[in-house]
Symmetry: C2
Subunit: 222 residues, 2 copies
Amino acid sequence: MAKVIRVAHKASAADTPIFSQLPESTRSRLLAAAREVFSEQGFQGATVREICRRAEVNLAAVNYHFSNKQALFTAALDFEPLHALRHNAMPEVCAVARLEHFIQDFLTQLMDEKSSSQCKLMMHELINPTLALDSFVQQAIEPMHQFMRQLVLDAAGVKLPPAELRRCVFSIFGQCLFYRHSHAVIQRLHPKLRYDAKEIAATAQHIAEFSLAGLKHMAAKV
Amino acid sequence: MAKVIRVAHKASAADTPIFSQLPESTRSRLLAAAREVFSEQGFQGATVREICRRAEVNLAAVNYHFSNKQALFTAALDFEPLHALRHNAMPEVCAVARLEHFIQDFLTQLMDEKSSSQCKLMMHELINPTLALDSFVQQAIEPMHQFMRQLVLDAAGVKLPPAELRRCVFSIFGQCLFYRHSHAVIQRLHPKLRYDAKEIAATAQHIAEFSLAGLKHMAAKV
DNA sequence: TTGCGTTTCAAACAGGCGTTTGATACACTT
DNA sequence: AAGTGTATCAAACGCCTGTTTGAAACGCAA
C-alpha cells in the first residue's frame, strides 16, 4: 500500500511576503516559531506541539503546510543574513580598513540576539550534520570564506601559500566565532561582562589588530 | 506520597577501576556507552534504551546504578583529559616555547578521535547549558584559562590591561577551538584536507606564530 | 446561493520514551 | 544448607511523540 501524501496546494502568493496577509500567515508564523524552538532544543528536542503552540496554529498545520517535521526544519533555515555581509564591500577604501569593517559587521551579526537562533541551529548541524549543512556551506559559508581569502590577500599585500592563506582565514573566523560558540562559557568565566555594542566594537577592534599583526608576520616570511 | 527511591548500594570496589572485574562492570560499560550516545545525539536525543543496547545491559540498569537519565549524563562527564594539559608545564624553558607547546598539546587533544565524544557533549552544553556546564567551567575550563593568562603575560613580557589580556586569551582559544567546532564545515570546504598528525602540527605552529605576532603587537601598545 | 478548492480544527492513532516493578540469579557469610 | 544483601532480568506503567483522519469553516467564482 503506497502511503497517500496530502499535498498542500497553498496559494502561491503566500510564498512571497509581499502579498501575505497582515496578521502573518499560518505558514510564516510556523516558520518563525520553528526557528525559535529548533534553535533552543535542536531538531530532536523540539516538538511540533511546542512549535504549533508558539505559532498559535493547529497541530496539523505542520503536516499540511510542510509535509512533516524534517521538511519544516529544512524550510526554517535562512541564508540571507550571511549573504548580506559581503555587500558592504567598500571597494574604494584600503584592504586593511575593509578587513576591519568586515570583522566589525560579522561579529556584530554573530552577537546579535536576533541571529542567535540561527546560530544555535547551525551548531546542532555542526554536531550532527544533515543535508542542511551541505547546502548551508555551499550557499553561505563557502562564498564568505572566498570573500575573506581575497580580503586577507589584499591586506597581506603578498601572495601567501594556499595552506597559510587558509589557516589565516581560519584564524580570523575562529576568533570571531569563539564569542558566539563559547558564549555560555564566557558568561560563566566573566559573569559581569556584557557584550553590548561598545564591548562588541572593542572586541572587533582587538581581533582586527591582533589578526593584522599575525598577517603581517606571515606575509614577511614569504 | 513521597516517592520511594531505590538507592543503589553497589560494592564500593566498583568505583575504582583497580578492582573492577576484567569483563568491564555493568556500571563502567554503561558510562562508556553513555558518553558515546550522548555525544552523538545530545541529552534529549539520546535514549536510555540505545545506551543500554550498546552497553549490552538490561534497561533497568540505568536506574539501578545511577538513579535516572540525568544523573547518568552528569556522571558521564569526564574532566581528566583537560586537567592533564597543564601538567606539561616545563618551567625551565622560555615563555614563548611553553605557549607553543601548550597550543600543540591542546590542538592535538582537540582533534583526537577519542575526545570527540566529550567535545560533542560539550557543544550540546554550549547550546543548552545545564548544571553540568557550570561544574565543567569551574573544574576544567577556568583553571585552563587562568593557566593561559599566565602564559600570555609571560610571552608578552609586559603587564597587559585585563580586558586586552582576556581578549588575547580568547583569540588563542578561539583559533584552536575553531578546528574542532567547525570541523564539519572545514570538511565540506576542503574535502581533500585531512587532519593527521602532520597537519595538526603545522596548524598548531601557525596558530602559535600568528598569535605571538598579535601578542607582541598588543604588548607594544602598552 | 450554490459549489469547489483551500485551510483549519479536535480527536485519535501507533509507537517510543523514562521509569518502576516484583521476581529471579548471584556471591558470600553464618 | 539456610540466610542476606547485591545485581540482573522481562514485563509493564503512564506519558509524550510525530503523524493521520474526517469533518467543519473559509474565500471566492459562477
